[in-house]
Symmetry: C2
Subunit: 337 residues, 2 copies
């Protein structure tokens, strides 16, 4: 298999070292409790090097009846940078545990999903991470139940499936607190129009922060906006009318649109208006002028935590969600009041 035609097997190594395959197996795997003479050991090692031997993990998996594969099904590997982060987090954490990730991209197609799951099961994955790039509730695809599974950035009510999701409520609170901490007391919230855990959660967190700070809850300050640049751009006038001194945008793209609109009106951030975003989408938040203060969606950590839960390293009860923190990322778009 090793390109040059010939596959070097353990038996050949054994022959060359003048020992049995067992011995070779023992020294290669550093079997504890098995003592092998130093001389034999080095002879085996030498033979391995000489022959360029590589163990065949597939054979090992077969005999041990267990694989080191973990499946990751994602609904959109690259439509967004988010899924990529989830994959990377899962990838690296899996790696750390000596596992390898089988990634399948379904683009939300049910048939592709079925294929992906079948493939993973055939490869004897020891578990499956089922992820969504957008935090949402969903129903589990048939087949998923055949392996141990953990949902990432999504959850399935009433299924007993464990899930790892961002803590939207705490995130909404964090964003609002960043503003309050600078003395703002009239804060507009450009929330998304689409119903989602993000919408509900961030709003709740926002309110909690206001209440905690003894600020009034004014529903007029919560305005609907499409969760994109256009939404922020279009909502600018509304925010200005409201007389808010600071705005919490549902995501960084909304903030970007708001930036544009304000600039067109000759207004300056953060002098005239403080802005905080959400997501920490690097291309945007890191490079707007001024750079955007925001709250990070912990996609990497979501993926990594998913693996940990799957491997039993982190305890989550059936049907429960592990909520991952959304940390504040202060930059330059918030001025003291």
């Amino acid at each position: 298999m090793t390109e040059n035609g010939r596959t070097v097997t353990m038996r050949e190594v054994a022959e060359r070292a003048g020992v049995s395959v067992t011995t070779v197996s023992h020294v290669i795997n550093d079997k504890p409790g098995v003592r092998i003479g130093a001389k034999t050991r080095s002879r085996v090692r030498q033979a391995v090097v000489d022959l360029g031997y590589r163990p065949n993990i597939l054979a090992k998996n077969l005999v041990q009846g267990t694989s080191r594969f973990i499946g990751l099904v994602a609904d959109s590997i690259a439509t967004t940078p988010f899924a990529g982060q989830i994959i990377r987090g899962a990838q690296e954490e899996a790696w750390r545990h000596g596992r390898v990730l089988l990634v399948a991209n379904t683009e939300a197609d049910a048939a592709a999903e079925q294929n992906a799951l079948a493939m993973m099961l055939e490869y004897q994955v020891s578990g499956i991470l089922y992820s969504s790039w957008t935090h949402q509730a969903l129903t589990l695809p048939p087949g998923l139940a055949e392996a141990e599974h953990v949902l990432v950035n999504c959850y399935a009510p009433g299924t007993g499936a464990r899930a790892v999701v961002p803590d939207e409520v705490a995130g909404g609170r964090t964003a609002t607190e960043m503003l309050i901490a600078q003395g703002h007391d009239r804060i507009a919230f450009l929330n998304t129009t689409s119903p989602s855990p993000a919408r509900e959660g961030r709003l709740r967190g926002h309110r909690e922060a206001l209440v905690e700070a003894g600020l009034p809850l004014d529903d007029a300050l919560v305005v609907d906006a499409l969760p994109e640049q256009e939404g922020g751009y279009d909502a600018a006038d509304r925010v200005l009318e409201l007389g808010a001194t600071a705005v919490f945008c549902h995501n960084d793209r909304v903030a970007m649109g708001l930036y544009d609109a304000l600039r067109e009106r000759g207004l300056r951030i953060p002098e005239d208006l403080s802005v905080v975003g959400f997501d920490n989408q690097e291309v945007i938040a890191g490079h707007l002028r001024p750079a955007l203060s925001t709250v990070a969606l912990p996609h990497y950590e979501l993926g990594a935590a998913g693996i940990r839960v799957l491997l039993g390293e982190e305890e989550v009860a059936p049907g429960q969600q592990l909520r991952v923190d959304c940390p504040p990322i202060p930059r330059c778009s918030i001025a003291p009041r």
Copy 2:
């Protein structure tokens, strides 16, 4: 292995169907040239369903001495949306050929890279795609040569390795032509400061387009800029001084910075200045106002083509590069002159 404890094997299916494992194997794989009675066939099929049998691909791979794995080592899965696209392209193309992708993320760390390669070889991959998120020349890691390999978005001079890369020259020409087609004849080019195939290639393409259109080559119009928002922002005055009516930006981020600077000066795009970007980074290009006309970097296609080359479906001579087109993405940032 199948979660519920018990693994259903082929032997059990055979027993239940009252046939031999050979027969089961035959019907499951639809072995050509082997005729099996319709009744037996359906009995086997039924047993498969009843027992919820899933073939163990690992065992199959072992006996056949060949795996359906293809390795993909990437230097940055998610630092950029680009790597994600390469992975997705490779993933889907591999899938189409019944292959499964083993993805490893190295973040440009040499040790991680060695590990990744070793792992892939141990998993008996039938080939390896070695990719870089930024188009560049590099030296091959040891180990890569042990399997058939194809470079994606990078190349290794003097190694005989086949590569799949974007056609930077044609891309530079395309961008410039988009401007020329609208009557612009004084075009500034904000090129990146870092030496790279992108820098050299796009410049060459830019020049070719000018020459072809009978326009003068004025080196003063080619100005250096950091390949980020800041570069575009800072270069604005220079571009204005030059009296250009259109600007070709090295990438979309540069264009974004330029947008900001122009807006601050009360200038409008495209009325006062036409702009074309490069990369087609959706979050940016699709949502600036006005939406940015640009040239796409074909990351998805790069990944897919890499797989095709690896599988011998697309012919590339040793040491040669397959150049993939960078298509124009017209939006609203170019006005006729």
